[in-house]
C-alpha cells in the first residue's frame, strides 16, 4: 500500500498521499466577502451575502428571537442531548407549522393524523438536503436527481457527494430574463421515469422567479405521469409574500395529490435560517411523506441510523428558539410581524432600485416579477466585474444580487453604477 513519494524525506508523504491532496477551490461567495472586506472605498456595497441586512447595512436579530433567547436564559434547566432526529416538541411544532398550515391544510392535517409524515431536525437546509440525499442513495430505486438550471451553488455538490448523479432541467431564459417554461416542461418530460426532481418551493435561488399556480399544475401533472419523486427545497418560506402561511401553495397542493393517491410520496427540506434569521444556528428539518404510517416508522428508524454516525444529534440552541416561539401565541405573532417587516423592506428597496434604473436601453421589468432575497439582474460576468472594479459593488458573476445589501443610503449610488455599466 505504501507509495513512492517525490519527497522521500517527508514521512507524511510516504504514509499518506498528502501530496496528492489537491487544493479544493474556495467557495465563490466567501471569496467575494473577503475581497469586499479588503476594499477601502467608503461607498462599497456587498451584494454577495445571502443574509438579511437592515436599512443601515447591519445584521439583525429578530426581536421575537431575542425574546425567546431571554426566556431560555431564564428557564432552561439543562443542555442535554436532544434525540437523534431532534425533540418530539420540535418535530411536532415544525410539522404542524408547515403541513397543518394554521389549520388551513386539510390534506396535510390528515397526513399528520395518519402518522405518514416523518420529520427530523437537521443541520439547517444543507443538512436536510444531505440527509435526504444519503437516504435516497440507500433506498430509492432511481439514483439520479434533476435540478433547475440555474440553482443554488451547493445543490449539485450535496447530491453528488452523496453518490447520486445530478442533471439539469431548463428553468430560466437568460435572453429574456424570464422563466423558460416551455423548455422546463420539455426537459422534465425528457427525464428518466422515477427520477428525483428538485423543486424550489418559493423565491427560487438564484433567479427569484417562481412558477404561477397554473404553471405548477402543469408541472405536477408531468411529475405524476412520469412518477418523479418531488424533493422540495424551501429555504425562503415567507420571503415571497411576507407570510410563511401564504408561501406554501406547492406543499398544500402536493398534500392534496398525495391524499388523492396521484403522487405517492415526496420530501421537504426546510430551514429557519432566513425566515427566523437563525443562519449560523443551523436549524432546519427534513420531512418525508410516507405511503403508510408503518412505512413512516421504518423510514424514521433508518434516518436515525443514518444520522447517528454522522453527528449523533443536532444542536439545540436554534431548535429551542423555534420551540419557544411556536409554543407562545404572542411570540408567534411577533415573529410573523418581524418577518413581514423584513420582507417589506426588501420589497421597498427592490421598487426603489427599479425606479432609478435606466430603462431606455434595458428592460428591467423582471425585477418586479422576482421575489425573495435576490435579484437576478441578467448582467454579464464582464459587467459584474466592471461593477466590482470601478464601483466597489460586489456580487457573484452570475449576476445575482442580494437585495438585502441595498438600502436607502446606497440605492442611488448602486443604480447609477449599474446605469453606467449598462450604457456601454
Amino acid at each position: 500500500m505504501l507509495r513512492r513519494s517525490t519527497r522521500p524525506f517527508s514521512v507524511a508523504t510516504r504514509l499518506a498521499k498528502w501530496n496528492e491532496i489537491p487544493l479544493a477551490p474556495p467557495d465563490k461567495i466567501l471569496g467575494i466577502s473577503e475581497a469586499f472586506q479588503k476594499d477601502t472605498n467608503s461607498k462599497k456595497i456587498n451584494l454577495g451575502v445571502g443574509a438579511y441586512r437592515d436599512n443601515s447595512g447591519k445584521p439583525i436579530v429578530f426581536p421575537s428571537v431575542k425574546k425567546a433567547e431571554t426566556v431560555l436564559l431564564e428557564k432552561e434547566t439543562d443542555k442535554e442531548y436532544t434525540g437523534i432526529i431532534g425533540s418530539k416538541k420540535y418535530q411536532d411544532s415544525v410539522r404542524n407549522f408547515i403541513f397543518n398550515n394554521s389549520g388551513k391544510d386539510a390534506s396535510g392535517a390528515q397526513l399528520i393524523k395518519e402518522g405518514r409524515i416523518v420529520t427530523a431536525q437537521t443541520i439547517s437546509g444543507t443538512g436536510s438536503l444531505r440527509v435526504i440525499a444519503d437516504f435516497l442513495k440507500r433506498f430509492n430505486s432511481a439514483q439520479n436527481i434533476i435540478v433547475p438550471k440555474p440553482t443554488w451553488a451547493n445543490h449539485v455538490a450535496v447530491f453528488t457527494d452523496a453518490g447520486l448523479s445530478a442533471d439539469f432541467y431548463a428553468y430560466y431564459d437568460k435572453e429574456n430574463n424570464d422563466l423558460d417554461f416551455a423548455n422546463l416542461k420539455k426537459s422534465i418530460s425528457d427525464a428518466a421515469d422515477e427520477s428525483v426532481i428538485l423543486l424550489h418551493a418559493c423565491c427560487h435561488n438564484p433567479t427569484g422567479m417562481d412558477l404561477t399556480p397554473e404553471q405548477w399544475e402543469e408541472v405536477l401533472a408531468i411529475i405524476e405521469q412520469k412518477k418523479l419523486f418531488p424533493l422540495v427545497d424551501m429555504a425562503y418560506q415567507g420571503f415571497a409574500s411576507g407570510s410563511p402561511y401564504k408561501d406554501i401553495g406547492l406543499i398544500r397542493r402536493l398534500n392534496e395529490l398525495v391524499q388523492e393517491g396521484k403522487i405517492p410520496t415526496y420530501a421537504l427540506c426546510q430551514s429557519f435560517a432566513k425566515n427566523m434569521g437563525l443562519y449560523g444556528e443551523r436549524t432546519g428539518s427534513i420531512s418525508i411523506i410516507a405511503e403508510s404510517g408503518s412505512q413512516a416508522k421504518a423510514i424514521e428508524s433508518q434516518l436515525k441510523k443514518l444520522i447517528r454516525p454522522m453527528y449523533s444529534n443536532p444542536p439545540i440552541h436554534g431548535s429551542r428558539i423555534v420551540e419557544t416561539i411556536f409554543s407562545d401565541e404572542n411570540l408567534l405573532s411577533e415573529w410573523l410581524a418581524d418577518l413581514d417587516s423584513v420582507v417589506g423592506r426588501l420589497n421597498v428597496v427592490r421598487d426603489k432600485l427599479y425606479q432609478k434604473l435606466d430603462k431606455t436601453n434595458y428592460n428591467w421589468d423582471h425585477l418586479l416579477k422576482q421575489r425573495g432575497m435576490f435579484i437576478y439582474t441578467g448582467l454579464s460576468a464582464e459587467q459584474v466585474i466592471e461593477l466590482r472594479e470601478k464601483y466597489s459593488v460586489y456580487a457573484t458573476e452570475d449576476g445575482r444580487f442580494s437585495i438585502s445589501g441595498v438600502n436607502e443610503h446606497n440605492v442611488d449610488y448602486l443604480a447609477d453604477a449599474i446605469n453606467q455599466v449598462i450604457k456601454k
Binding site: K79, T265, P309
Partner: protein, 420 residues
C-alpha cells in the same frame, strides 16, 4: 402507481434509548438511572455549569451578538482556544504552526470528518483499530465512511484490568501504516486508562509501526479535574516527536463544558515535526480546503452558539476560572461516589473485588456485572444500567448509593448461586 421505499425495514431502537424509555415508564419512586451519559448533580438533576450560564449571559447581552453564518471552518476564536486547551500553550504543534483545525458537530462530527477524509486520502492500511470494547458508535462511524474496522484487546474481564500486553502486541502486529483509535482519558465504556508508562509503550509501538493515531478526546478535565493530566497522552504523542505520522485529535466539549446538546467540537490535524516550512504550508492549505469541501456539502457551516459560548469560557479570565472550578466540582463528586460504592460493597461482603471501580475514571464504571445481573437489577430493584455492565457513576448520589450497593449485592449473590 409507483411504490417507493418498499425495502425499508424498521430497525430496533438504540439499546441506550430503549433503556431510557423503560426507566421513564417505571413507576417506582426509588428507581435509579445509571444508563445516562450526562452529568447529574447530587440531587440527580442535570447541571448547567455556572461558567456556561455566565458566558451565555455575557454573550446574549453583548452589543454585537448575532446569528450570522460562521465561516466553513467555524468560529476562529473558538478553534484557536480549543487547540490551545487540548495541546497545551507550549505545544510544538502551536509554536511550529503545524495544525489545521475544523469546527465539528461535537465528537461524533469530528470522528465522521476524519473517517471520510482518511477514506479519501489515506494511502496506508485503511483499517481502523478500535479498543475492545469501545463506545457503541465508533464502529458505525468508520464503517459508514467506507473504512474497515478491527479491534485491539483492552479490557481483561477476568482480572477487571487493562490488557496492556494484548493491546501493545496487536498494534505491533497490525500492518504497517494502520489507523489506531485511542481514548486519551476516561476510556468509554470501561473507565480504565493506561498509566503514563503504559502510554509510552503504546506510543512507541505506534511510532515503530508508522501507524496513524486518532485521539478521541471526550472527557478532558472531566476525568481527573485537571485539563493537563487528562490531555497528557495526546501531548506526549505530539511533543515527543517520535510519531512520524500526522496525528488527528477529535475534541468534544459535550461533557467537560456540559454543553452536550450544543454540539461543540473540533478536529485538529497535527502535522509531524520535520516538514519543511514550504511543504507544511502547502499541506495545510490542501487539508483545510478539503475539510472545508466535505463540510460544505454536508452542513455548509457549523453551529455558532455553542462555539461562541465555549470560546468565552476558554478565553474570558473570569469564565475560565469558574470553569476550572466547575470541572473539579464534577470530577470530585464522581470520584467520591466511586469510593462510596466500593466501600459499601466491601462492607456488605459482596463476592468479588471492587478496586476497579476506583481505578476507573470519568463518567462510567465497567462494573463487571453480567447481562443477567443487569436484567435482575432492573426488574427487581429498579436500577437501570447497560447489559454490558456499564454504569454511569454520574447517576449515583448521596441519596441512592446505599440502595444501589445493596441491589448490586443482592443480584450478584442471586446470579452466582443460580449458576452453581
Amino acid at each position: 402507481m409507483a411504490s417507493y421505499f418498499t425495502e425499508i425495514k424498521q430497525l430496533p431502537p438504540d439499546p441506550l434509548f430503549g433503556l431510557k424509555a423503560r426507566y421513564t415508564a417505571d413507576p417506582r419512586s426509588d428507581k435509579v438511572d445509571l444508563g445516562i451519559g450526562a452529568y447529574r448533580d447530587n440531587n440527580g438533576k442535570p447541571w448547567i455549569l455556572p461558567a456556561v450560564r455566565g458566558a451565555e449571559k455575557k454573550l446574549i447581552e453583548s452589543p454585537g451578538y448575532n446569528h450570522e453564518y460562521l465561516g466553513i471552518s467555524g468560529y476562529e476564536p473558538f478553534l484557536t482556544a480549543a487547540a490551545e486547551v487540548i495541546l497545551g500553550a507550549n505545544s510544538r504543534a502551536i509554536s511550529e504552526s503545524a495544525i489545521v483545525s475544523q469546527q465539528s458537530l461535537s465528537g461524533t462530527g469530528a470522528l465522521h470528518l476524519v473517517a471520510v477524509f482518511l477514506n479519501e486520502f489515506f494511502a496506508g492500511n485503511k483499517t481502523v483499530y478500535l479498543s475492545k470494547p469501545t463506545w457503541a458508535n465508533h464502529h458505525s462511524v468508520f464503517l459508514s465512511a467506507g473504512l474497515k474496522v478491527d479491534t485491539y484487546p483492552y479490557w481483561d474481564a477476568e482480572n477487571k484490568k487493562l490488557d496492556i500486553e494484548g493491546f501493545v502486541s496487536t498494534i505491533q502486529n497490525a500492518p504497517q501504516g494502520s489507523i489506531i483509535l485511542l481514548h486519551p482519558c476516561a476510556h468509554n465504556p470501561t473507565g480504565l486508562d493506561p498509566t503514563p508508562a503504559e502510554w509510552n509503550r503504546i506510543l512507541d509501538a505506534i511510532a515503530e509501526r508508522k501507524h496513524l493515531p486518532i485521539f478521541d478526546s471526550a472527557y478532558q478535565g472531566f476525568a481527573s479535574g485537571s485539563l493537563e493530566k487528562d490531555a497528557a497522552s495526546i501531548r506526549t504523542a505530539i511533543d515527543s516527536g517520535k510519531i512520524s505520522s500526522p496525528i488527528f485529535v477529535c475534541q468534544s466539549f459535550a461533557k467537560n463544558v456540559g454543553m452536550y446538546g450544543e454540539r461543540v467540537g473540533a478536529l485538529h490535524v497535527i502535522l509531524p515535526a520535520g516538514e519543511s516550512a514550504e511543504s507544511k504550508e502547502t499541506l495545510k492549505s490542501a487539508i483545510k480546503s478539503q475539510l472545508n469541501k466535505l463540510t460544505r456539502s454536508e452542513i455548509s457551516n457549523p453551529p455558532a452558539y455553542g462555539a461562541k459560548i465555549v470560546a468565552t469560557v476558554l478565553t474570558d479570565p473570569e469564565s475560565r476560572k469558574q470553569w476550572e472550578e466547575d470541572l473539579v466540582t464534577m470530577s470530585s463528586r464522581i470520584i467520591k461516589m466511586r469510593n462510596e460504592l466500593k466501600l459499601k460493597l466491601i462492607g456488605l461482603g459482596t463476592p468479588g473485588t471492587w478496586d476497579h471501580i476506583t481505578n476507573q475514571t470519568g463518567m462510567f464504571s465497567f462494573t463487571g456485572l453480567t447481562p443477567d445481573m443487569a436484567e435482575r437489577l432492573e426488574k427487581v430493584h429498579g436500577v437501570y444500567l447497560m447489559s454490558s455492565g456499564r454504569a454511569s457513576v454520574a447517576g449515583l448520589n448521596d441519596g441512592n448509593v446505599d440502595k444501589v450497593a445493596r441491589a448490586f449485592d443482592e443480584v450478584i449473590r442471586f446470579c452466582s448461586k443460580s449458576k452453581l
